[in-house]
């Protein structure tokens, strides 16, 4: 959505001010409608399947149910007020939060415009980002959190973390005004989800038997299927974030693909060298690492820059996964932090380098408004990473404590955990094979 800074200028600061003057662009509108469907497809069923295959068979439904329930719940909250708080003008507090003019989508009609696309299309596109972000976090507390706690936490977190950060970066807030490059969600989606995942894993504690009992993925076919859907859906995630059907979208889509491919091969090479064999799970995890890392940088970096970003993503996320799980023994069950959090941080940082137009074949398409050197761009990138990371960590910790009070603890008891969340929380089983 950095493209808005270039393409739409100040429109995003107050999307409806210029509404009457901007003619609708049907090509752009068609692409954003398509991209909206692609991004929802990433969550349902892409991410749902990707995660569901990674847990044990007694918890497969709990993951699928959580993804679908979060999608439905966040959609309604988006309508009720989250969209307004994220993307409208907050007046005197606009640096930090949007306004209330679109509560229940008040005043929104078919003619309301954001730039040259209908505002309702923009709102729906953004809604799909708000859905996938809390859905990403569930990988951290998989197989042990109460369903009610998942819902309460996801709702509070989206309100108190996702929405403000989205406003700071995309909705006209502080980082938007100060030229932080985050094209499609390196900070807003991946750093917030990744940092929140780490805090969740620490606060909830490890699954019973973690490190002693085998907890292998129950269906990698499902996981790899989901990863394929995520890869394809990411075309809409990053390509759509240009908010136009133009060269910026085309470039974002292409560099996204390059980074995914580079991440896959880099992770595969790491496993081959370190463990002797390349695994299917390793290859698709490398894909997701590459995709998560390029997200913030897509649209501002060139294809050769994306190659470097993807390779670094594969290698660094691989070693961070080892560090978190094996060395620090933190049960971030589905590796959300080392893949998304680290990828988001890395991508946000590297965007500040590879956006530079002075790197020869590795050049990007220029700095954000107000920045004229890599150093200056990096300073705002690093400030964004630190402020958003710390804010997310603190708020996530507080919201988990609040959720624990509301739902009487966060975890199911030991017996329930042993039995599996499918039966305990939903009275059904994922598989009944005879």
């Amino acid at each position: 959505m950095f493209a808005k800074i270039i393409g739409l200028g100040l429109l995003a600061l107050s999307p409806h001010v210029l509404a009457a003057d901007t003619p609708l662009n049907t090509g752009n509108t068609a692409w954003i409608l398509t991209a909206t469907a692609l991004v929802l497809f990433m969550s349902l069923p892409g991410l749902a399947l990707f995660y569901a295959g990674l847990v044990r068979s007694k918890n497969v439904l709990s993951i699928l149910v959580q993804c679908f329930a979060i999608a439905a719940m966040i959609s309604l909250l988006w309508l009720i007020g989250l969209y307004s708080l994220a993307f409208t003008d907050g007046g005197s507090v606009n640096n930090w939060l949007g306004g209330t003019s679109r509560l229940l989508m008040a005043g929104l009609n078919k003619d309301s415009m954001t730039g040259d696309i209908p505002e309702v299309t923009f709102a729906a596109f953004q809604m799909t980002f708000a859905i996938i972000t809390p859905a990403l976090i569930i990988g951290a507390f998989a197989e042990r959190m109460k369903f009610a706690s998942v819902l309460v936490f996801s709702a509070l977190w989206t309100l108190a973390v996702y929405v403000p950060v989205a406003h700071w970066v995309w909705g006209g807030g502080y980082f938007f005004q100060h030229g932080l490059i985050d094209f499609a969600g390196g900070t807003v989606v991946h750093i917030t989800a990744g940092i929140a995942a780490l805090v969740c894993a620490l606060v909830l504690g490890a699954r019973k038997g973690f490190g002693k009992v085998a907890m292998p993925p129950h269906n990698l076919t499902m996981t790899i299927t989901g990863a394929g859907m995520l890869w394809v859906g990411w075309y809409g995630f990053n390509g759509g974030s240009a908010l136009a059907a133009n060269g910026s979208a085309g470039m974002a889509l292409f560099v996204t693909h390059i980074a995914a491919s580079a991440g896959a091969l880099a992770w595969m090479a790491c496993e081959w060298i370190k463990f002797g064999k390349p695994s299917g799970l390793g290859i698709v995890t490398g894909v997701i690492a590459g995709l998560g890392t390029i997200t913030g940088a897509a649209g501002v970096v060139g294809p050769a820059g994306a190659l470097v970003i993807g390779l670094l993503a594969g290698v660094i996320c691989f070693f961070m996964t080892q560090l978190i799980k094996k060395t620090l023994k933190i049960d971030d069950s589905l590796d959300v932090f080392p893949v998304h959090g680290v990828g988001g941080i890395l991508g946000t940082f590297l965007a500040g380098i590879f956006c530079s137009p002075d790197l020869g074949v590795f050049s990007g398409f220029g700095y954000a408004t107000g920045h004229e050197s890599i150093g200056s761009q990096l300073s705002i990138q690093i400030l964004g990473i630190v402020v958003i990371g710390v804010y997310t960590a603190v708020l996530t910790w507080i919201l988990l404590k609040v959720t624990a009070v509301v739902t009487g603890g966060l975890r199911v008891n030991e017996d329930e955990e042993r039995e599996g969340l499918d039966l305990v929380a939903h009275d059904e089983r994922g598989y009944d094979i005879n």
Partner: protein
């Protein structure tokens, strides 16, 4: 009568079944089982997290065999299921007290 239980490598099941058919065995029961012997388990790696899998998948055949056929059945199973490598499996032979064919009420050797 004897009950012959053979635990074999799963991919050898078809060979064993064919070899047994060739010597006139008309029925057997197959169960998918897990266990360990000298072969022990193996290691699986998921994103570098190492899991030792103690139990190896095997197939167990149960055959009721007439006294006179026991040695030949054992010989045929050994030949068909053998690869010469560790993990080929084992054969257990026990006395079988009674057999009844439910449909006809026939008993013992005529029911096998």
């Amino acid at each position: 009568m004897k009950m012959v239980s053979a635990v074999i490598k799963p991919f050898k099941l078809d060979d064993v079944r064919e070899a047994l058919s060739d010597i006139g065995v008309t029925g057997l029961t197959v169960t998918e089982v897990k266990g360990f012997g000298r072969q022990k388990g193996h290691t699986e790696l998921y994103r570098g997290a190492e899991y030792v899998v103690d139990f190896v998948p095997k197939v167990r055949l149960d055959l009721a065999v007439k006294e006179a056929d026991v040695d030949r059945v054992i010989e045929v199973i050994c030949k068909a299921a053998g690869t010469g490598k560790i993990g080929d499996g084992k054969i257990f032979v026990t006395d079988l007290l009674q057999v009844v064919r439910i449909r006809t009420g026939e008993t013992n050797e005529s029911a096998i």
